[in-house]
């Protein structure tokens, strides 16, 4: 038997924070690729601490629904899962290369494949592009359009910016959009000045965040000038300095994220049969769960 555990941050204050986690877990459940699928959280239940013991399977694939390698994926999650002899060196990563490490946990007799975060997987590049397709309602979006991938920046962790730049470069190499830029909330180049960085009239802005919350639904829309007050909402596209800004919510809410979760587990040796194909069919551009642009309130914690 094999089990999949999707580990995410969750929230004590915002009930929507866990929605993407449940949505992607459900998509994986529908494929039947795993005997058991569980969600686990730092701030909700089941907690990381208790999740593995709820499984009957002996082979467990843990996929962090986090954007970058850093404090949570390297310290908090392995510690709380009680992974024996864990060392971030086992990922042998320079910030965006983590694949998986095979470990045991102190409190259960199981083999645990601890995977790198979804945010740095190559398949994430496709999710960002699909997000751009969905927000513009144009499956061929690219020509004459600029794409901004927005990250948090280096506040706590330099790998956060690396992940944003990694996907930005990969999309740039596809030669699909006229311009592709990485922008940040708390470092240069800043998302506040988004229109300064693009020549194109149309700019698609995709935040590389897992869940919608304070940053994606309050900070970024106001900082970019999409709206004076996030509570009033904003148009898609919105006019800013003569540009049309197509702003999507957090990329982590995109249905295709389930594909990245599955790829992480498959890279770690999970037998997922034809699950990838069925997920891709189910979450093709028109099937996105994530294009609900109603502003929501609540901080991420």
């Amino acid at each position: 038997m094999q089990a999949l555990v999707i580990v995410a941050h969750g929230s004590h204050l915002n009930p929507d924070a866990s929605d993407p986690t449940y949505a992607h877990a459900d998509t994986v459940r529908e494929t039947g690729a795993f005997d058991e699928v569980r969600e686990a959280f730092w701030k909700e239940e089941p907690h990381f601490r208790d999740v593995i013991r709820t499984l009957e399977a002996n082979e467990v694939f843990v996929v962090p629904l986090f954007i970058s390698e850093g404090y949570f994926t390297e310290q908090v999650i392995p510690r709380e899962l009680r992974l024996e002899n864990w060392d971030p060196e086992q990922w042998d990563s320079d910030g965006t290369d983590a694949s998986q490490a095979t470990l045991e946990a102190e409190d259960v007799d199981k083999t645990i494949h601890y995977c790198g975060p979804v945010g740095t997987h190559d398949a994430m590049t496709d999710v960002i592009v699909q997000r751009a397709e969905n927000v513009t309602d144009d499956p061929d979006v690219g020509e004459g359009v600029g794409l901004a991938v927005v990250g948090h920046g280096t506040e706590r962790n330099e790998n956060s910016a690396k992940a944003v730049e990694y996907h930005t470069e990969r999309i740039r190499q596809q030669d699909r959009f006229d311009e592709v830029k990485a922008l940040f909330m708390d470092e240069e180049p800043e998302v506040d000045d988004v229109t300064d960085y693009f020549e194109t009239d149309d700019i698609v802005v995709v935040p590389l965040f897992i869940a919608d919350g304070y940053h994606t639904q309050e900070d970024i829309p106001e900082d970019m000038g999409l709206t004076e007050d996030y509570r009033l909402g904003w148009s898609v596209p919105a006019e800013v300095d003569g540009h049309h800004i197509w702003y999507a919510g957090a990329v982590g809410t995109e249905g295709l994220m389930a594909d990245v979760v599955l790829e992480r587990a498959a890279d770690a040796g999970a037998d997922i049969g034809g699950a990838l194909e069925s997920v891709r069919a189910a979450t093709a551009s028109d099937g996105s769960r994530g294009s609900d642009l109603e502003p929501s309130t609540g901080a991420g914690d």
């Binding site: 701030k43 089941p46 013991r53 709820t54």
Partner: protein, 385 residues
């Protein structure tokens, strides 16, 4: 040949491969071509196959019970199996590693009594959940005899007509049902006693029941099972606090007496249905009662950890002596206000009930009288020098 009650051929096949069936009071041994049948009511030896079938007719419940647990449920040694056995008051001793019968064994039912009870439905409570195990009563060809189904609803709805409840069949619906309380407020603590009522899950399989309970009260079954087997791994306050890093690194500085106040504030039955098993430290128990919950709490949860961070900061402040002018009734009113908030009863205080110190008009009056222009209590810090 199959009888109406059970598949005798399947039983014989099992006896071919393992020569003995011993389960829940039923014991059948094969010795070559003859069989010994033993139940608590009788023992027959030297039975030919045909005699065995006849002898089993009046004891069909033992056979269908064996089939249900070995084939439908399976999962020997799992929490799922133990929980489902607990649901119908089946003996749990076999599910524990302990030699002595478990503490719940005294109320467990042997097969004939259990089948009588299952025809009516066996009710159990798990936090605010009411679980009913019952035998499938229709003679549907798809369901072998002895198959159980499970119903799940809120304890407050025990006497509510099913027609008045919203009926669900997908365990995942438990996630939405448990997200907010009656006032629509988010429930970050799944085991808070604020689960909404008005819904029911009917006819779940055992696996579905366990899944639904797992969404209402995550990991409670796994930890209950560990406790049952004597393997619950409790992490006490100090261990948990010292493990923290980042913004929670400070919480191991929370004074011991503050940990008492914290557990009294957060971890008692009125706030959380888990039974707190963790203490200040191994061999250093907290005075506050851990509660009577059905399932254990094995370590401080993330809400307690987050709140502890706030209290650690607050407790690092020095105490001062303040002077402020209050009548005796106003002092009493302050106590009533704190009490009303702490008990969560501010919503219950009637608009015109000015006899309650926590009434809104009473609070507004006190504020108008005793607050200064900056909106603070007119209190003077006293310096004794």
């Amino acid at each position: 040949m199959a009888t109406a009650e059970f598949d005798f051929d399947a039983l014989l096949e099992t006896l071919e491969s393992q020569s003995t069936i011993a389960f829940d009071g039923l014991r059948i041994e094969r010795d070559g071509e003859t069989y010994t049948l033993e139940t608590p009511e009788s023992e027959q030896t030297g039975l030919e196959a045909d005699d065995l079938e006849v002898a089993l007719e009046p004891r069909a419940a033992y056979v269908t019970n064996w089939r249900y647990w070995q084939e439908t449920v399976g999962g020997e040694g799992t929490a799922r199996r133990a929980f489902l056995r607990w649901c119908e008051r089946a003996p749990l001793a076999a599910e524990t590693d302990a030699d002595e019968p478990s503490t719940t064994a005294d109320e467990s039912l042997e097969v004939p009594a259990r089948y009588d009870a299952l025809r009516e439905g066996v009710d159990r409570e798990w936090g605010q959940l009411c679980l009913t195990a019952r035998l499938v009563d229709d003679a549907d060809a798809d369901d072998p005899a002895g198959e159980r189904v499970y119903d799940l609803w809120h304890v407050d709805d025990a006497d509510t007509d099913l027609a008045d409840l919203e009926v669900y069949d997908d365990p995942r619906d438990a996630r939405d049902l448990s997200t907010t309380d009656d006032d629509g407020r988010y429930r970050p603590l799944k085991t808070a006693p604020t689960l909404v009522s008005g819904w029911a899950f009917i006819g779940l399989s055992g696996a579905e029941l366990v899944e639904a309970v797992g969404f209402f009260y995550p990991a409670t079954i796994a930890n209950w099972h560990r406790e049952l087997r004597g393997t619950l791994d409790v992490d006490h306050w100090l261990e948990t606090a010292e493990r923290q890093t980042g913004i929670y690194d400070v919480i191991d500085e929370l004074p011991r007496e503050a940990v008492e106040w914290m557990t009294e504030a957060c971890c008692v039955d009125s706030q959380c249905l888990r039974r707190r098993e963790w203490q200040y430290d191994e061999g250093d128990d907290l005075e506050v009662d851990g509660g009577d919950g059905q399932f254990p709490c094995r370590e401080p949860c993330s809400l307690v950890v987050a709140a502890a961070r706030k209290w650690t900061v607050l407790e690092s402040e020095e105490e001062h002596t303040y002077e402020l002018e209050l009548t005796t009734s106003e002092l009493n009113q302050l106590e009533e206000l704190i009490d009303a908030v702490a008990e969560g009863r501010t919503d219950e205080i009637r608009e015109a009930d000015v006899y309650d110190g926590a009434n809104r008009y009473r609070a507004r009056y006190l504020r108008a009288k005793r607050f200064d222009d900056e909106g603070s209590l007119e209190a003077q810090e006293r310096h004794d020098d």
